[in-house]
């Protein structure tokens, strides 16, 4: 059977208290007072849809390797790597540069694979998953990695600012050893413009909620679910888990009721601790449901809504409990949700999301240099894949990979084979917190890290605050925005070190 063979999730560490948002705007809109509940996830300044997708996909693929009894190196092995990477997002950093290709490169996947960005609607996430099922079922690819990720964009004081969250999820779709089987799907394409965002704009323009609920959600979704149930030959009552989100209160409850789906089947929308993560959200909810409530044999209905809808019927296999308790335990949405730190500074959210015009100082101008794309391409293994070298003569592992071995006792020429540093254990040798250099999140933390098996380099630390860093601390590498050329709009990525934390 075709189905989901592994999954992983990622949620940015920062969780902005809605109280902080409401406190800033309640003077203008007293109605917000009742919405100061819970928290929403927010990207650090160096995170976007691509970096979050990388982390979710990395969690997925590493857990899949562990599930199969393989080392993390198997992730990049052409024999085991997915045949294609689909990235669903409507907040991609590049409108014309394959974002899925950046994700694939950061994961160290072979360049012999296919990549595809799926975008243009809030149902891009379910659409990408659906197309992956089709591609595997049709024999086009042996398996496909589907990542869905959104760094939500909303104006200050907009309803979206409170309702949205940032996050990503990734699944591998294959034809054997499935955790969840694909049963059937139905779709609808209806140009129902509940909101739109022109290609040239940053923010959505949204129509009245009551109309969206009554004409859009209630009008479009139930007939598609009815078609799906008929095609699958099951009754609505057999749906044990209904995965659908809407930022409109009680809209999903109404659809379930209308379709005859039990109220108990409604899966948590994670609004309280995460927020609505856009194209990723139905799949984030799906991953969460698989980890928390789905039992072998259960039917799961996933609906993605946006200018029509996709309705996907899945059924859990006997393997799911072993996955969630074993290899997948730390990789999913549940674990990602647990790795959070409260943020109560709304100004930081405004700053990180470029919602205020900040004085950054002249030192910030240094990032506005023209990137030598020839170099970015020539060194793509190093810059995107964090691939270093291993000297075949003396065995020294080093970064970057160069013609001449860095070991002073070796100095052999032309002896280095590629060596991935992505999953290498490392610790801090030296550090400082620098208040002089420009960073969007001062002070700039950086230092020398040494990799346990060999190799070292001076790196930026991210997701840290003053007092977090000390010599000897274990770190892991994460793919992040290095800097942005604001003149040309070019986002540069590289890897940064993050402390290994219990939570």
């Amino acid at each position: 059977m075709v189905g989901i063979t592994a999954f992983g999730g990622y949620v940015p560490r920062l969780r902005l208290a809605r109280q902080a948002i409401v406190a800033a705007h309640v003077w203008a809109d007293p109605g917000l007072a009742g919405k100061a509940k819970g928290a929403r996830s927010m990207c650090n300044w160096d995170e976007d849809a691509v970096t979050m997708a990388v982390e979710a996909a990395r969690n997925c693929l590493n857990a899949r390797a562990a599930w199969r009894g393989q080392t993390p190196a198997a992730v990049a092995d052409p024999e085991h790597a997915p045949g294609a990477v689909f990235l669903a997002t409507t907040t991609a950093p590049f409108a014309d540069r394959q974002n899925a290709g950046i994700v694939s490169g950061a994961l160290g996947l072979p360049e012999s694979i296919a990549t595809l960005d799926v975008t243009g609607s809030q149902k891009a996430g379910t659409g990408a998953l659906l197309q992956a099922f089709g591609a595997v079922a049709g024999g086009l690819h042996g398996d496909v990695l589907v990542a869905a990720s959104d760094h939500r964009s909303s104006k200050a004081a907009s309803p979206g600012e409170l309702a949205f969250g940032d996050g990503a999820v990734a699944f591998t779709v294959g034809a054997g050893d499935t955790l969840v089987d694909f049963v059937a799907a139905e779709s609808a394409s209806v140009d129902f413009i509940d909101h739109f965002r022109p290609a040239t704009e940053r923010f959505d323009y949204t129509w009245e909620e009551r109309w969206i609920r009554d004409e859009g959600l209630t009008g479009i979704v139930p007939p598609v679910i009815a078609r799906l149930l008929a095609r699958a030959g099951i009754e609505a009552g057999q749906i044990a888990h209904f995965v659908m989100s809407s930022t409109i209160a009680r809209a999903v409850d109404g659809i379930a009721k209308q379709c005859g789906i039990a109220a108990a089947a409604l899966c948590p929308d994670l609004a309280g601790e995460l927020g609505e993560t856009g194209t990723a959200h139905p799949l984030v909810m799906l991953a969460h449901a698989l980890e928390t409530r789905v039992q072998p044999g259960d039917y799961v209905l996933v609906v993605g809504f946006g200018q029509g809808c996709d309705a996907i019927l899945l059924r859990a296999t006997d393997r799911l409990p072993a996955w969630t308790a074993g290899a997948g335990a730390g990789a999913g949405v549940l674990a990602a949700l647990a790795k959070g730190t409260p943020e109560t500074n709304y100004q930081k959210f405004l700053a990180f999301n470029d919602l205020v015009t900040l004085e950054k100082g002249m030192r910030a101008e240094k990032d506005d240099y023209k990137t030598a794309l020839t170099v970015t391409y020539r060194k793509r293994d190093m810059l995107t894949g964090l691939i270093g070298g291993r000297c075949t003569q003396c065995g020294t592992i080093q970064f970057p990979r160069t013609d001449v071995c860095v070991n002073p006792q070796c100095r052999a020429t032309g002896t280095q084979e590629p060596h991935p540093f992505r999953e290498e254990p490392a610790s801090i040798l030296t550090w400082s917190a620098d208040y002089l250099t420009y960073t969007a999140d001062p002070p700039s933390h950086y230092g020398m890290i040494t990799f346990t098996n060999g190799g070292r380099f001076m790196t930026d630390f991210t997701d840290v605050k003053v007092g977090d860093i000390e010599v000897g601390m274990a770190v892991r590498m994460m793919f992040r925005i290095k800097s942005v050329d604001s003149i040309r709009g070019f986002v540069r990525y590289f890897w940064k070190a993050v402390p290994v934390r219990a939570s």
Binding site: T374, T402, N407
Partner: protein, 400 residues
């Protein structure tokens, strides 16, 4: 086997501009100011100079590339002028060019001028630079203070020093340099500071506060060198000669190989050992009279004292605290105020350090004059702890 540079080259004359925020002057005017003093000190005519070396680092904000800026500013008589750029050690390397030219016999008299105009950037601190097309795409987002502050974390971990003890020792280093700089009318910063002021200053890069960082200044310095024989023919007495001049450059092992612990300068140790050998110095703690250290940051000075074999490894804090390097200590360090008080116009600093050693050795250091120094040393460092250019120069009186 190379015979080394010892006593083959004499300093004929030196000059140094006033360092500081020279809003009224460009690099060209600063070069002229330093050169005119050096030329008068040498007692020669510009037409007697055979070749010249110019050191600058930031061509983008200063004089531009090449040797032309010096040739044009000084209206040199169409002689060879080479520009030397070797990070913050550029000045020492330009001096090396002139010294080697004389030692080889290719020139009778050679000139080295170092200059940097840093205050045309619009902000404090050193300007950032990209370092090529690949480096900015992966190098950590740092600054000079942040890069040098890394030393403190490793030094503390290695020698089990508390943050407070380290902060107090490096504060003493800055207090000492300010006390010296207060006696130098050419220094940028001429006010003494207290330990309390240093310790309470705002953090720049943990654990370095404002007073742990050297100033950012405009300035120039010049040296004219020749052979001891020509110096004598020109009527010079009390001749100061070059005893050693060594450079050591990182090859990527500190930044890429796990053999370095981050707490010291690998290159300085090599350059110092070679320089002592070249100069015939076997007990530096006893034989060196004074030295100018590349105190871009107080922590740099602390670890360098050990790298130069003047303090035992792990012993610099104790030496600093007992005043070993103070003006009245056994080996006065930064007797002119150092980078701390002069600031660090990159290309000029190495030659500025030599200027003070030259003044001291010829008994012309005024209120800072030390009693009978015989061996002076300069340590000029470019880059950052993980990747750098270390220059060690030893000068002293020519034995009869």
């Amino acid at each position: 086997m190379a015979s080394g540079i010892k006593d083959k080259v004499a300093i004929l004359g030196m000059g140094c501009s006033r360092f500081g925020e020279r809003w009224e002057s460009g690099a060209e005017e600063l070069m002229v100011e330093a050169f005119d003093e050096a030329l008068a000190d040498a007692g020669i005519d510009v037409t007697q100079i055979d070749a010249a070396w110019l050191s600058t680092h930031y061509q983008e904000i200063s004089v531009g590339k090449g040797g032309l800026p010096l040739s044009i500013a000084l209206r040199l008589p169409n002689i060879a002028v080479s520009r030397v750029e070797n990070f913050c050690a550029s000045g020492s390397d330009a001096f090396r060019g002139a010294v080697y030219a004389v030692a080889s016999g290719a020139c009778d008299i050679a000139l080295a001028v170092g200059v940097e105009k840093l205050k045309d950037t619009g902000y404090g601190g050193l300007p950032g630079s990209l370092g090529g097309t690949l480096n900015p795409q992966w190098a950590a987002n740092g600054s000079a203070p942040g890069n040098f502050a890394q030393l403190a974390s490793a030094y503390r971990a290695k020698h089990k020093v508390s943050r407070e003890d380290l902060k107090r020792a490096i504060a003493h280093i800055s207090v000492k340099s300010h006390a010296n700089g207060a006696k130098n009318t050419k220094a940028h910063l001429q006010k003494p500071v207290t330990e309390e002021q240093v310790l309470n200053a705002p953090l720049i890069a943990d654990p370095l506060g404002l007073f742990d960082c050297c100033g950012v200044s405009d300035g120039a310095a010049a040296a004219i060198v020749t052979t001891p024989e020509i110096a004598r023919q020109l009527g010079k007495h009390d001749i100061v000669t070059v005893k050693a001049l060594q450079l050591s450059l990182s090859n990527g092992s500190e930044s890429g190989h796990n053999s370095w612990d981050g707490s010291y300068f690998h290159t300085t140790r090599i350059a110092a050992a070679k320089a002592y050998k070249e100069a015939g110095i076997t007990k530096p703690r006893e034989q060196v009279s004074m030295f100018e250290c590349h105190d871009c940051f107080s922590i740099t000075e602390l670890v360098t004292m050990e790298d130069l074999q003047l303090s035992a490894e792990g012993g610099a804090i104790r030496d600093v605290m007992v005043g070993f390097y103070d003006a009245d200590g056994q080996i006065p360090c930064q007797i002119d105020g150092g980078l701390k008080c002069f600031g660090h116009p990159i290309g000029a600093s190495g030659i500025r350090m030599l200027y003070e050693m030259y003044l001291q050795l010829t008994g012309r250091a005024g209120p800072r004059q030390l009693p009978k120094p015989s061996i002076g040393m300069t340590h000029n460092l470019g880059g950052s702890p993980v990747s750098n250019v270390a220059a060690v120069c030893i000068v002293g009186a020519l034995a009869n």
